[in-house]
């Protein structure tokens, strides 16, 4: 059962068992509570579940914009380098974050989401233009 890891109180900042033969992965672990997501950037063994104790915490990511409209990220680059040199793989969301931070090249998915959003915005804009064009005609008909 997944639930057995939930009720254990372990330090979230690390201390998990590092078995050298198993591959490590650098990934985001969801923390926070209902309607308030928060992520830790952690090093886990590849087979670990999200709620299991990480080997080490490398940073944090707050996806909710603060009062200055910023999403805050903290990354310990020295330790990230150490774990990459140790053979650790970065997960997709973590790699995207590193790309935005300038540590990795920018992830293709970042480009993809950007152009898709741009596309949808253009679509909305065109729709609004069309609506403006049609409105005065209706008024004329009524009068």
């Amino acid at each position: 059962m997944v639930r057995k890891w939930v009720n254990k109180l372990l330090p979230a900042a690390g201390g998990g068992v590092n078995i050298p033969t198993i591959q490590k992965s650098i990934r985001l672990a969801l923390k926070g509570c209902t309607n308030r997501p928060f992520f830790h950037i952690n090093v886990h063994t590849k087979t670990d579940r999200m709620k299991q104790q990480p080997i080490e915490q490398l940073g944090s990511y707050d996806p909710m914009p603060n009062m200055f409209n910023e999403k805050l990220v903290s990354i310990n680059y020295d330790r990230v380098k150490h774990w990459i040199a140790d053979g650790g793989r970065t997960s997709r969301p973590a790699a995207e974050l590193f790309g935005l931070a300038g540590f990795f090249p920018v992830h293709p998915r970042t480009y993809m989401t950007a152009w898709r959003r741009r596309k949808s915005l253009i679509k909305l804009y065109e729709q609004s233009l069309k609506a403006k064009e049609t409105q005065p005609e209706e008024k004329e008909e009524k009068s």
Binding site: K81, H82, M112
Partner: protein, 240 residues
Amino acid sequence: MASLLRTSLNPRNVLRLGSNIEPQFSPATTPWTQTVRWRRDRKPMWLGPSKSKRYWVPPRPNQPLEEKVELRRLFTRYKTEVSALHDLIKENMKEVQEKQKQALQFQSKEEEEAEWVECMAINDDWNAESAALREQRIARELEAVEERALQLKLARDEEKRKLAAELNAKVRAEKERSKTYITPENIDEAIEQALNTVVDFNYSIDLRGNKYIGKRTKPESQNAKRISDSHEPIKREIAA
């Protein structure tokens, strides 16, 4: 509402705690059972799709070919870049580790020995300093102990002297009193004296305040004595 009730009473949705009994009663009334949301399953596989969804085909994701090509191009480039970056990081870390190792190693054995001798000299100096301090401290402590012992001795002597004086005083007083003791030698005299001198502490008073000493003395006798001689208020009363 009825469907909700049915799902909540469904034994599959009930977590049995510490009991092997099938929850044939309502889970609200039976002990050791608890309705939990996370245990709720979907519909069983063998029921198949519902009648309304039988011929419904969900829309497939429609990715334009341009996007597909572009993403492939981006991903291949990204993967090569990242793998190169990983190699670079590994090499850098190797260099760093080597530098760390070198920093920990001594250059030669002679230098190491020289440093050892130097360290030992410094250590001896420190030991001498601390030894001097220690001796001073011990001397100070010894002095304090001696002083305290002396004070204690003086206090005890004073106490002893006081006790002796007290006892002496008691003994002297007892000796004084022993002159009037009744001993086997003078017991007959004492008995005779006691028999000869009869003391009567009884007395009576009349309305005028006259005091008659003795149990059987009569008012006419000369033994009568006016109590008012020594008692002011009664005297005043009598005058009135």
